[in-house]
């Protein structure tokens, strides 16, 4: 059994007309091993953030279950910390207090000094030493998300959930923080589940990339193994022979699933039956393998 299992999860919303329900996604099954970095990529509105919220326990699922370390989850918890797209730092607290709030919750038995030392360690890890007493409003977007990452790593969760963490950060800063995230991940080897629509980001960071079709009733159609050895760096990864193969494959997938025919069917999609196992794409083996 995998460390984190999303087991046949479906999500329905009440339809806007009030009659019946709209299926966001159906029968999504994901297995994440311990220490693995898995990314779900898809268009806006395909339900990938909803999926992440379900794993976090912030939203109820309609069918199925999520099992973490052999136990079914029931609501949010400290073992699954989210890094939010909108940072979600409390603007009335300083950087230090934002992280300390999390640390005190995760380790209620620690005394003041131990909490402070732990907070300072993670502030230093994201290179924000000296900014502890600033309020989030005084920080740039990149610095805010560094605080968000420090807060998430500081409570040492079993699974780190990244919800388009760099979408609101300017492109130049984004690259820098992505590499910082790689370093933090290398140091901790946390299990990470990320959601994004940035293909380069997904390839740089992930072990496996799950490709989600457009909603409604979206599903995970393919799983791409990122066959590029670690450690990876932005400057050298593009020279790897598989980089553009993977990138083009994903972009083709996304373009194909963005266009819809007049009958609402996905144009050129593989049109495999719903509920079928996703296609595994691995360029090392240079083949499309059905698992």
């Amino acid at each position: 059994m995998a460390f984190l299992e999303v087991d046949h999860v479906s999500k329905y919303f009440p339809s806007p007309s009030g009659i019946g329900q709209v299926c966001i996604f159906k029968d999504v099954t994901i297995r994440v091993e311990k220490g693995e970095f898995v990314t779900v990529i898809g268009h806006s509105g395909c339900g990938k953030s909803t999926l992440l919220n379900i794993i976090a326990g912030l939203e109820p699922m309609t069918e199925g279950g999520v099992i973490l370390n052999g136990k079914e989850i029931s609501g949010p918890g400290l073992d699954r910390m989210v890094v939010f797209q909108s940072f979600a730092l409390m603007p009335w607290m300083t950087v230090f207090d934002n992280i300390a709030l999390a640390v005190r919750s995760a380790y209620p038995e620690w005394d003041r000094g131990r909490v402070a030392a732990h907070v300072r360690k993670y502030v230093a890890l994201v290179g924000l030493t000296g900014a502890e007493n600033k309020k989030p409003a005084a920080l740039s977007g990149g610095m805010k998300q560094r605080v968000g990452l420090a807060r998430a790593f500081s409570i040492e969760p079993k699974v780190l959930l990244l919800d388009e963490p760099f979408a609101q950060i300017d492109a130049l800063t984004r690259g820098v923080i992505q590499e910082e995230l790689i370093q933090m991940w290398n140091a901790t080897r946390n299990t990470v589940f990320m959601v994004t629509h940035d293909v380069d980001e997904a390839i740089l960071l992930s072990d496996r990339i799950m490709l989600m079709t457009n909603g409604p009733a979206s599903r995970i159609a393919e799983i791409v193994d990122v066959t590029i050895p670690r450690p990876r760096a932005r400057s050298t990864i593009i020279e790897h022979p598989h980089y553009y193969k993977i990138r083009n494959h994903i972009i083709h997938f996304l373009v194909r699933h963005a266009a819809r025919g007049p009958d609402g069917r996905e144009e050129g999609s593989l049109d495999r039956a719903a509920g079928a196992e996703p296609l595994v794409v691995n360029f090392e083996k240079d083949s499309l393998v059905l698992r």
């Binding site: 699954r80 909108s86 603007p91």
Partner: protein, 293 residues
């Protein structure tokens, strides 16, 4: 920003212009006895309109002068000087110095406003966290909110049978609804992410309330308090007038009963000054709890 120069200079200039104009418009010519017979003059003296000086000339009676037309700035200044000189003197049950009156009004105001704020914030948080309850109660808030707090006064007076507490309750009614409505709104529109973080961190409800919900909604709550503050300040003056409770609002009315128009103007100015002082204190408090996104 357009405009150069010191705004204080302009403020001072406008004040001087206003005072000068006020002085000139309220200036009355000295008594002119020409064209009046000795008999007419004696009648006017008998009526108290004029008085005869030792040198045999007549001038307007200064006591009667007070109630003719609007008093000038000098008369108001003179009145202010005598009132402030005896600010903390009690001459009788209904004649307390201006210092006492200010204290009465401020404590009446503070009591009603603070009590209403506590009740409104507690209720507002409860309603803000429970959408169904909010929608159930909201129609009543909408009906009660626009009622002038003074409209409650007869009912309150009849119920509590004590003008002292009635005045406090009028202030209470004036400051309840805006704070209640905005607190519920502020808590309700708190960013979902903050509550998500609180849920993931498994904060206790106490921590959730004091570390996340209240500080998060604080800027909105303070806006509601500001509206309440204004309407309470407006309500306290007529409440004192109507109830005859000693205070700065009452001062204005009692001076009117004394036909002392300079006193009325002085009382109006005191109300203004008290308002400014309370408001600046409130702004200090507001600044300490607001944050930038």
């Amino acid at each position: 920003m357009v405009g150069k120069g010191n705004p204080w200079v302009i403020s001072g200039f406008l004040l001087v212009v206003f005072l000068l104009a006020w002085h000139l418009f309220t200036l009355r010519p000295s008594f002119d006895p020409r064209g009046l017979t000795e008999e007419q003059l004696q009648l006017m003296e008998f009526n108290g309109d004029i008085i005869r000086l030792e040198d045999g000339t007549y001038v307007w009676n200064p006591d009667k002068e007070k109630v003719k037309g609007i008093p000038g700035p000098l008369a108001v200044l003179e009145k202010a000087r005598t009132e402030l000189a005896e600010a903390f003197v009690k001459k009788g049950t209904n004649d307390h110095g201006i210092g006492y009156l200010v204290i009465y009004t401020v404590s009446r105001f503070a009591g009603g406003f603070l009590a209403a704020s506590v009740v409104a914030i507690v209720l507002g948080v409860v309603l803000g966290l429970n959408r169904v309850l909010f929608r159930a109660i909201n129609p009543y808030i909408q009906i009660l909110k626009p009622i002038s707090p003074l409209a409650w006064m007869p009912l309150l007076l009849y119920t509590v049978k004590d003008p002292k507490w009635t005045a406090v309750l009028v202030v209470f009614m004036a400051s309840l609804w805006p704070t209640l409505a905005t607190t519920a709104f502020g808590v309700n529109s708190l960013k979902k992410e903050y509550l998500h973080v609180a849920a993931i961190l498994q904060l206790s409800w106490f921590k959730r309330l004091f570390k996340v919900i209240l500080p998060g909604a604080a800027p909105t709550i303070v806006n509601g308090l500001r509206i309440s503050f204004g309407s309470a300040l407006v309500a306290v003056v007529p409440a004192e007038m109507l109830l005859g409770e000693l205070g700065v609002g009452y001062l204005s009315w009692i001076e009117w009963n004394n036909l002392d128009i300079a006193g009325v103007i002085f009382a109006i100015l005191v109300v203004g000054v008290v308002g400014v002082i309370l408001d600046s204190g409130f702004n200090k408090l507001a600044g300490s709890v607001t944050y930038q996104e």
